[in-house]
């Protein structure tokens, strides 16, 4: 994410340095959105408890999507929730990042074949970091947050972010409506 929202890395020395500085600040001050979905939400809360304490790295929850930087998708996303999740993502102010926490958010997890489950949140929003586990331990979430920090701060990595935002809303359609097959 460039300084002024451009996707290209600035070549100017001054602008490039400023860009590095702003991105350093962004990486050191990632505020996640308070949005717990399922089991992983409890482990997400446990990441901010005194044992793990992600606040040491300058992260604390903001309730409104306007002021949040990171969305942690902490649980199974079903077709009813998918529209709301997408809307929350759209409401977040740029720059914004998404962490997919747990097997359900990665690909549907144990509920993968079910009729109501979206098989992976990356069908709805672009994901930066995936965490395996069901549920992942708080330490795993903290590591993912630190990986994201390094991704934002690293000048090579941050322009490699896939920017195409999924627009294929078929995953949210209910099955059997017009004989359409699920999008896999």
């Amino acid at each position: 994410m460039g300084l002024l929202g451009s996707e290209e890395r600035p070549r100017d020395i001054i602008l490039g340095t400023l860009d590095d500085l702003i991105n350093l600040a962004r990486s050191r001050s990632m505020w996640p959105l308070t949005f717990g979905i399922a089991c992983c939400a409890i482990e997400m809360m446990a990441t901010w408890d005194p044992k793990v304490d992600a606040d040491r790295f300058g992260m604390f929850f903001r309730n409104t999507p306007r002021q949040a930087d990171v969305m942690i998708v902490s649980g199974t996303v079903n077709k009813k929730l998918a529209k709301r999740l997408r809307r929350l993502y759209d409401q977040m102010a740029e720059p914004k990042w998404v962490i997919s926490m747990g097997a359900c958010a990665n690909q549907g997890g144990p509920f993968r074949q079910g009729y109501s489950v979206v098989e992976g949140v990356d069908k709805i929003v672009p994901v930066d970091v995936y965490i395996p586990g069901c549920p992942p331990r708080p330490e795993a979430l903290l590591q993912a947050l630190l990986l994201l920090r390094d991704k934002i701060a690293d000048r090579e990595l941050r322009y490699k972010r896939p920017r195409e935002i999924p627009t294929d809303y078929d995953v949210m359609a209910e099955p059997g409506k017009d004989g359409r097959l699920p999008v896999l």
Binding site: D53, D55, D69, A93
Partner: protein, 391 residues
Amino acid sequence: MSYIPIPEDKHFRIKRIGYDPGRSRPWLERLVYSLYVFAFWGFVVATYAGVPALFDWLGWDSGWGYVAMRATQVVMLFLLSAVIALMLILALRKYLGKVQERYGPMHYGPAGGIQTVFDALKLLGKEDFVPAAADWLTFRLAPAVTFVSSFAIFAVVPFASGWTLAETNVGLIYLIAVSTLSAYGVLLGGVSSGNKWALIGALRAGAQMVSYEIPLALVFLAVAVWSGSLSLGEIVDSQMGVWNVVPLFIPFVLYVIASLAELKHIPFDFPEAESELIAGYNVEYSGMSFAFFFLAEFVELFLLPALIVVFFFGGWHGPLFGLEPGTLAAGALQSLYFTIKTAVWVWVFLWIRATLPRYRDDQLMEFAWKAMIPLALFGLVLAAYMRLIWR
């Protein structure tokens, strides 16, 4: 500061991951945060003594030179307010960490010391937009109104004897007028956002203002009656022997409660009640507009304790060790006393924030109208009576 020690559980072998004992250095934390307080003090000295001395040395001490000197002081105070906000946010987070058996920010900068600088820089680079449902002009104006009304309180705060930006004889009336304005910023921001949560927050802010402003004004009146002046400098002067907190104990308690309400601080933080209204009046703000609300909140978190010190705890008074009042050294010492007293009161406010749950909004109104106003009237009458007897 005592706090519950962090249980390093030996039985259960709970280890903090990413925790390097070398990174948590209590002596470093103490050093860094005391340095912050001294840096603040230095800033104050530079603003109130350094800038006039500089202009004096340049010979620009009359006419437009005087205006330029005052303008420079205002700019310095603006920078100072930013520094205050950065420091207080950090102090809040570190103190919450202490209370909550954890560390708080500790990895960026010495003992987490530049964490909030990163936060501010990030907010600077964050997208700041006006929602489609919002009223553009009012939406943009609201953070400025909120910040300016908080910032304007600086004008009458005496940091030391004679160290006031505008030494006026209607300081108390100015304070009432200006501090009421900050509720307008919240109201404008909430109503113009086009968001129902923000609207509820704004309405709560309005309802809250009408309940705490009256006892606040009555407390000001009691202070004015007892001290015999509306000027903040003279109020502090009159506390030479005994601090106002002794004779004016009832107004003092009411003033602390009303300050909590004016600050929108934890037992009375209804306008932005995080768990009820998501973020209340600033729910639609992002980027720098949100940062200005944040800035205003934390500048007030400095200024209202400062006013408590001015009204009830003798302002800058303290032992001068034979220094001649009015000199630079005496002023510096006095502003140091003022800073330390204010820091203690800020700590009390942070302590309240870390400890208490939230009242319901109608309970504050009921309390304000049924208990605080009669008590404040009683305090006013008592102050007048005592003044007749003893002064």
